[in-house]
Structures are given as structure tokens and as C-alpha cells.
């Protein structure tokens, strides 16, 4: 396993050269978020004091968006899918077919190193932002919720990665994968709870979303942290999330195996 440790190390150093990009991303990314918070504030100000939207008071709504920002920083796939697709297109994966190193684990190490570096850079703007809104930054109700949150966040990261990896496998078949990645991303953006908490949707729609993997890509860990998912529901949710991770992993492996058969090492 020492070789993967090495990959992680090299990945962090490589990613550090992009620190300026990461910082720009983190800072610019906060702007639309702040804008949404302003819009919610305006919506609440038009209501009677203490009114709620769905189950959320204004404070809880702010907490929700703060938490999604944190989970997103911990788990979001940055440019891994583009890089994997480029590796396939340019024939860079040929060397992995010869070396005793597995491409999927190799990419996972790079994904983790990307997250570590991103966090190291984004921690400053994020902390400033959270400190500014500290009154809305709530603690989880108990240790069980916090543990469940941490566990679920790890699963979220894995799910994000395996899904992106599977999408990038399309590069074996089509020349330009970015359109497909953006189409999936649109669904993720809407249905994972990026734009608004899913439990302010009409109940039927919310239930339907739970048949897709999307809520497990962001909303689910946040709902655990906020104490909305507890007890049996929590255990069941974690199980389903785990199953989605396994399913995405299997799709990734399957697509790779089929893709390799078509692969002709262009330019490699």
C-alpha cells in the first residue's frame, strides 16, 4: 500500500501549484451563496415574525446553507472527471495497464489529495464566512448525530467520486464528455440540495428524489447533522447510501472493463 501513499503525497504537491485557482474558487463560490441567503432573508422579512418555510426558521435555513458549504468543500469532485477523461483520450492510461497499480485507486488517492489541498486553501475564506455568521452555526444535537454525519460524509465523498469516475469512462466511447458531465451535474445541483433544502419541496416530489442517488450526495449528511434524520431512519439511510456507493463502484469497474476492450491507446 506504500505506493498509494506515495501517490497521495505527489498529488498534494501537484495540487498545491493550483492553490491560487482553489482560492479563487472558494472565494467566488461564496458569492452566490451569500446572494441566496439575502434572498431568503427578504422572503422571511415579508412574513410574520417567527414564521417558517417548511420546517425551517430563518436561522435554521442559514445553518442549512452553511452546512452544505462545509460538506461540499469536504466531498465535491473538483476536476477529477475532466482529468480522467483527458487521460483516456490522450492515451495516458496505457502506462497503468502495464504497471502494478490500479487506476481507480490511483485516481481515488488523487481525489483525496485534491480535497486535502482544497481544504487547506479554502479553510481561511470558509472560516471567515462561518465566523461572520457564527450565530447560525449550530452544533449537532448529540454525539450519535455527529458520528452519523461524519460517516455519511465519507460515504458522500466516495459516492461523488465513483459517480464522476463512471461518467468519465464515457471518454472511451465519445470524444467530448464535458456535455454529459454538465448534464449530470445539473441534476446533482438541483436534486442534492445545493440550491434549497429538499424538505421544503412538496412531499411527493421529495419522496421521489429519494429513489435517486442525488440526495445522498449532499442533503443526507446535512440532515443527519441537523438532527432531522435519527434512529432507524438514520440507519436505513446510511445503508441505502452505502448501497449507492457500492453500485457506483461496480458501474465504474464495469465501464472500465468494457472501455479497455475498445481502447486503442491513441497517442499513447
Amino acid at each position: 500500500m506504500r505506493k498509494y501513499w506515495h501517490v497521495l503525497n505527489v498529488g498534494i504537491q501537484n495540487n498545491l501549484t493550483y492553490r491560487f485557482n482553489f482560492l479563487a474558487r472558494a472565494v467566488f463560490g461564496l458569492i452566490p451563496l451569500i446572494a441566496i441567503l439575502y434572498v431568503w432573508q427578504k422572503i422571511y422579512s415579508g412574513k410574520a415574525a417567527g414564521a417558517t418555510v417548511g420546517p425551517y426558521s430563518l436561522g435554521e435555513m442559514f445553518s442549512y446553507y452553511l452546512l452544505t458549504t462545509v460538506v461540499d468543500a469536504l466531498t465535491a469532485v473538483n476536476e477529477d472527471d475532466w482529468q480522467i477523461a483527458a487521460d483516456i483520450k490522450d492515451g495516458n492510461i496505457s502506462q497503468f495497464l502495464l504497471k502494478p497499480i490500479d487506476y481507480l485507486w490511483y485516481r481515488l488517492c488523487l481525489f483525496l489529495s485534491g480535497r486535502v489541498t482544497y481544504l487547506a486553501v479554502a479553510v481561511t475564506p470558509l472560516t471567515v464566512f462561518i465566523l461572520y455568521l457564527h450565530q447560525y452555526f449550530v452544533l449537532p444535537p448529540d454525539w450519535a448525530a455527529f458520528g452519523g454525519f461524519l460517516f455519511s460524509t465519507v460515504l458522500t465523498a466516495l459516492l461523488q467520486f465513483f459517480m464522476s469516475y463512471s461518467m468519465a469512462m464515457l471518454a472511451f466511447w465519445v470524444l467530448e464528455v464535458s456535455t454529459f458531465i454538465f448534464i449530470l451535474f445539473a441534476f446533482e445541483y438541483l436534486a442534492s440540495g445545493h440550491l434549497f433544502p429538499l424538505d421544503i419541496l412538496p412531499p411527493g416530489l421529495e419522496r421521489a428524489l429519494y429513489f435517486t442517488p442525488f440526495p445522498y450526495q449532499l442533503y443526507f449528511p446535512v440532515s443527519i447533522y441537523m438532527g432531522k434524520t435519527t434512529g432507524m431512519e438514520l440507519i436505513r439511510g446510511l445503508l441505502i447510501q452505502g448501497l449507492w456507493v457500492v453500485a457506483a463502484y461496480l458501474v465504474a469497474r464495469f465501464a472500465w472493463r468494457r472501455g479497455i476492450r475498445r481502447y486503442s491507446a491513441v497517442g499513447g
Partner: protein, 296 residues
């Protein structure tokens, strides 16, 4: 365009372009310049059409992507309006009109300028800017308008359709003056987006990895499509007077929706677009002085 002037085509490397009639009176010189630049631009268009048509399926898929993201904006707004009737004084269909206007402005901007702005850092990094500097035309002109993104015109028309539908829902019948005013304000909005993004792209003369910054600007489009009344304090000041995102699409949308209480926002948008353009020109010139060709 009929090439009526003797030799309006840019012949790179030849002395043909030196034949500008220097001694004639200025109006004819001006028309000569205009027709020359127009013919250069039409050549650039032809190139772009040829480029786009060689990847037809990709061209169509990008239109699907943009439509999907456009639809996503509406689902967000519909969810918000499930829980409220108004944001400030903005009703649901007024916000739909605003999103349509914002999308229209963004797509037209994208059609003419976006790719060129994001490519600037690549031109600097690879040293390809040398070739553009050698051309006997204004360098900012070629750098800004080299490629045309044709799919964006299709997307812009979907935005027009949405605006028309929203106007119907609001029982708006805009007068001709309103439509012309709207278009003029859109031009000011597009000029503002262009100037700001071009200014950001010029940072690539200082740091090679400027592409991240340019894409970061993309986040600001998210601010531009939200109703201005939601914002207060420092945020509002910054996004009105420094990066006028709260003006670029809100003011044109307000004009169409009869929501303008005074002419002040209109004048402000026009003034800000001029200021942004001047600042970006200054930034561009300052950056060009730093350019030391990378490859050679």
C-alpha cells in the same frame, strides 16, 4: 457585406494593409476603417461557423446543457414562490422575466466574448499572442472577437421565448420604445460583463493560472439574475458600484415590467458600463506592457 473597397481583406504579412489612405479626409478614412474591420469580422464568423459545424452533435448537446441549466433556474424560483408570494415587490412572473433577461444578456455575451476571454490566458501561456500582435489590426479587437459561439444565439432565443411568455402572464404589452430601450440597456449590460471579464482575463499576464479567476466570474451571473430588492448594505454597494451585477439585468427587466420608479438606475447602468469599459482598457494596456513572449 460586399467588398466595395479595393482591398479590405487582412492579408497577413503582406504590405497590402499598409495602403490605408492616410492623406484623405477623415470621414472616408473612418468608413474605410469600419468596412475593413467589418470584413475582418465576417471572416472570423466564417471560421467559427466552419469550426462549429465540424462537431455537430456536440454543438447540439451543448444547447441541451444550457437549456437544462436555464430550466434549473426556474425550478429554483418555483420552489421559492411555493413559500412566498413576493420577494420585495417582485412577483413570480416578474422574476421569471428577470431570469429571462439575465439569460438573454449572458448568452449574447457568451456568443461574442466568453470563449475569447477564457482563451486569453492560454494565448499568453503558449506565446501564441505573438501572432496576434503581429497582425495589422487592433489586438484587443482580434483577441476579444476571434471566435463566435453560435449555440449561444439559439439559447438567447430560448430566453426571448421565456420573456415573451412571462410578459403575457403579466399582461404586459411593451411599447416599441420600451423594447428599444430594453435592447439598448442589454447592450450596456453585455458591455459591462465583457469589460469585467476581459479585465479579469488580463490578470493572466501576471499569473499564468488565471483561468480559474475567469471561470470564477461565472458565479457572478448567479447574482445578476436575482431581484435587486433582496440585497442590502455592503453587498449591494459592491455589486452596484464595483461589479454592477445588480444593475446589468435588473434594470432592463424593470424597464420591460414597468417597475422603474425613476430614470436613475438607467443612467447608473449606462454610466457603469462606460466606466467598466474604460477601466478594462486601462488594465489591458497596463498588462500588455508586461507581456514577454513565452515561447521564443
Amino acid at each position: 457585406m460586399k467588398p466595395e473597397t479595393r482591398n479590405p481583406k487582412p492579408e497577413v504579412g503582406s504590405s497590402a494593409t499598409d495602403h490605408a489612405p492616410r492623406n484623405t479626409d477623415s470621414p472616408s478614412r473612418f468608413t474605410f476603417h469600419v468596412s475593413r474591420y467589418l470584413s475582418i469580422y465576417s471572416a472570423l464568423w466564417k471560421n467559427s461557423v466552419a469550426r462549429e459545424m465540424s462537431f455537430k452533435s456536440n454543438f447540439l448537446l451543448w444547447i441541451v446543457v444550457e437549456l437544462l441549466w436555464f430550466g434549473l433556474q426556474f425550478s429554483f424560483i418555483s420552489v421559492l414562490y411555493l413559500h412566498t408570494d413576493q420577494i420585495g415587490t417582485w412577483t413570480k412572473w416578474q422574476v421569471v422575466l428577470l431570469i429571462g433577461a439575465s439569460h438573454f444578456i449572458q448568452q449574447v455575451f457568451q456568443a461574442f466574448f466568453l470563449v475569447n476571454c477564457t482563451n486569453l490566458s492560454e494565448l499568453v501561456r503558449s506565446g501564441k499572442l505573438d501572432f496576434l500582435l503581429l497582425l495589422p489590426v487592433n489586438t484587443r479587437f482580434v483577441v476579444s472577437l476571434r471566435q463566435v459561439d453560435l449555440g449561444s444565439f439559439v439559447n438567447a432565443s430560448s430566453a426571448v421565448a421565456v420573456m415573451a411568455y412571462a410578459a403575457r402572464q403579466l399582461h404586459l404589452v411593451p411599447t416599441l420604445m420600451q423594447v428599444l430601450g430594453f435592447l439598448a440597456l442589454c447592450v450596456a449590460g453585455i458591455a459591462t460583463h465583457y469589460s469585467l471579464m476581459f479585465l479579469l482575463a488580463s490578470i493572466s499576464f501576471w499569473t499564468v493560472r488565471a483561468q480559474g479567476i475567469v471561470w470564477g466570474y461565472y458565479n457572478l451571473f448567479n447574482v445578476a439574475r436575482l431581484p435587486d430588492e433582496a440585497f442590502r448594505g455592503l453587498f449591494k454597494a459592491v455589486f452596484t458600484f464595483a461589479l454592477p451585477m445588480l444593475l446589468v439585468s435588473n434594470v432592463p427587466a424593470r424597464l420591460l415590467a414597468d417597475k422603474l420608479s425613476s430614470s436613475r438606475p438607467v443612467l447608473l447602468l449606462l454610466a457603469m458600463s462606460v466606466v467598466c469599459f474604460c477601466v478594462s482598457e486601462w488594465g489591458w494596456r497596463a498588462s500588455m506592457r508586461r507581456y514577454t513572449s513565452a515561447s521564443s
